[in-house]
């Protein structure tokens, strides 16, 4: 018995080589997963991940860890349910406990009209092959008795959309698990390496300049959500993206009081309880476009008050910490996976508020794209060209719920 002294480095500290088959810019969940699947699914391990800070330090390490596939459109359901299926087996696959906890998620409906929309969504999910149930108020109470069931509540609970397979995971562990697994397959992980320029020859991206020097590759993938426009600017094009701060909150740890994830669109707040006991919650984007990784009081007040409205007993619980990440917001709030318009440079971005849950699928699909140069059928609808064709995948417009 050696305690845990037998575990070696989770990943090597690699030196940057001059050339690779694939360079991935961004060492967040999507970048790390992409590298892992490039090596595992496509046998490509001459891969470098260039991370300007520390692994998982962007939105991978700042989100509220919800994992779900409760989507309306078949295109979204295919993407996010692939992700959920991969999450279900991820700890074993990576031999790293990412603590995926399928504790279920409910989207509350607060009126007859919202119940009709909830039914519409549940039916869509079932047709999409995703597990879904339409909960009435009593079903909700059984799962989350801490919620406000008063008929006098501003938004009384009528029922919910329930996805039992949804849940939470340990966000950092997802990044570390992929990093460790990718590293063991030969991928080079380079931290504190900031891309300063994209090198193009004959209109084709052939490499990047970094603070650690020049590096070249056959294909370059960018997975830098939050700063996608900055990278696009370096490469000389614009994207249909605005950057906003998304805040997240955690309370002091409590003994278990909430066993599932609940989201109320009407109150604009969702929450769950981490295994450590803290209530983890969040809500809408800040109102002012921002690259500042910090939040402001108006949204703090609306999110925190929303939580206290959803479950008034929580008003006396103390807030321990809040923070913000910068998210890519696209016109339809759906991600962008596909060619950038510059040959050799590919994009994985635009994840809005929900990139964490998509990490395994984003990695799988982006690896497919980088390995083959063409879309996996699941990523095809998420190509940049949808903004020209008008084939947007706007979940919020379909269900009235922002995703």
């Amino acid at each position: 018995m050696r305690g845990h002294s037998g575990w070696g480095k989770a990943w090597r500290t690699s030196a940057l080589k001059p050339t690779y088959d694939v360079i991935i810019i961004g060492g967040g969940g999507h970048g790390l997963a992409t590298a892992y699947y490039l090596a595992r699914n496509h046998g490509i391990n001459r891969v470098a991940i260039l991370e300007k800070g520390w692994l998982g330090g962007g939105n991978t390490g700042r989100n509220t860890t919800a994992i779900r596939s409760n989507y309306y459109y078949p295109e979204s359901a295919a993407l996010y349910d692939l992700s959920l299926r991969l999450y279900e087996n991820l700890s074993k696959e990576l031999n790293y406990n990412v603590m995926f906890s399928p504790r279920g998620m409910m989207v509350l409906a607060h009126s007859v009209a919202e119940m009709e929309i909830a039914a519409r969504t549940v039916n869509a999910m079932q047709i999409n092959g995703t597990d879904a149930e339409l909960f009435d108020a009593e079903d909700v109470r059984k799962r989350a008795p801490i919620l406000n069931f008063s008929r006098e509540a501003r938004f009384p609970i009528h029922g919910a959309i329930w996805q039992g397979r949804a849940g939470t995971g340990r966000h950092d562990a997802v990044a570390w698990g992929y990093a460790r697994a990718a590293d063991s397959l030969g991928v080079d992980i380079i931290q504190n390496c900031e891309v300063t320029d994209v090198i193009t020859e004959g209109g084709c991206a052939v490499g990047v300049n970094t603070n650690l020097g020049e590096v070249r590759a056959g294909r370059i993938g960018a997975a830098v959500a939050g700063h996608s426009s900055v990278l696009a600017g370096i490469a000389g094009f614009d994207l249909p993206i605005h950057s906003y701060a998304l805040q997240a909150f955690v309370s002091e740890p409590l003994k278990p009081v909430m066993d599932t994830v609940a989201f109320s669109p009407a109150y604009g707040t969702y929450f769950s309880q981490s295994d450590k006991g803290g209530l983890v919650f969040g809500g809408a984007l800040d109102r002012v476009p921002s690259y500042g990784q910090r939040g402001n009081m108006p949204v703090q007040e609306s999110v925190v008050s929303g939580l206290a409205e959803m479950a008034p007993v929580l008003a006396k619980v103390k807030l321990l910490r809040h923070w913000a990440g910068i998210v890519d917001v696209t016109p339809d709030s759906s991600p962008i996976i596909g060619p950038s318009g510059i040959d050799g440079l590919y994009l994985n971005c635009g994840w809005g508020t929900g990139g964490f849950k998509a990490i395994p699928a984003g990695g799988t699909l982006f690896a497919h794209l980088l390995a083959t140069g063409s879309h996996h059928e699941i990523s095809r609808p998420f190509d940049l060209d949808r903004f020209r064709s008008g084939r947007l995948i706007d979940e919020g417009a379909a269900s009235g719920i922002a995703h």
Binding site: D238, R287, Y291
Partner: protein, 88 residues
Amino acid sequence: MQLFPCPFCGLRDEREFHFAGEVGKTRPKTSEPVSDADWNTYLNTQRNEKGAAREIWCHVTCQEYFVMERDTVSMDVLETVALRKEPS
């Protein structure tokens, strides 16, 4: 809670303002043919500057639109200018 200077009302709480878009989004003349690419640029493409950015904002309480230049990292407001021209 940030404070923005409305050119008409002075410094006000950020909650009174609505972000209306980036400066320079001119609507293509749709009575003439407009390519998919140009329409996409108008509808969707953003510069999304990190640092100094010029944007159109609306002060919802007085309903006036104006140009605001601000730093999207530090949140410093650099300048605001009314859209409305001086009466001739």
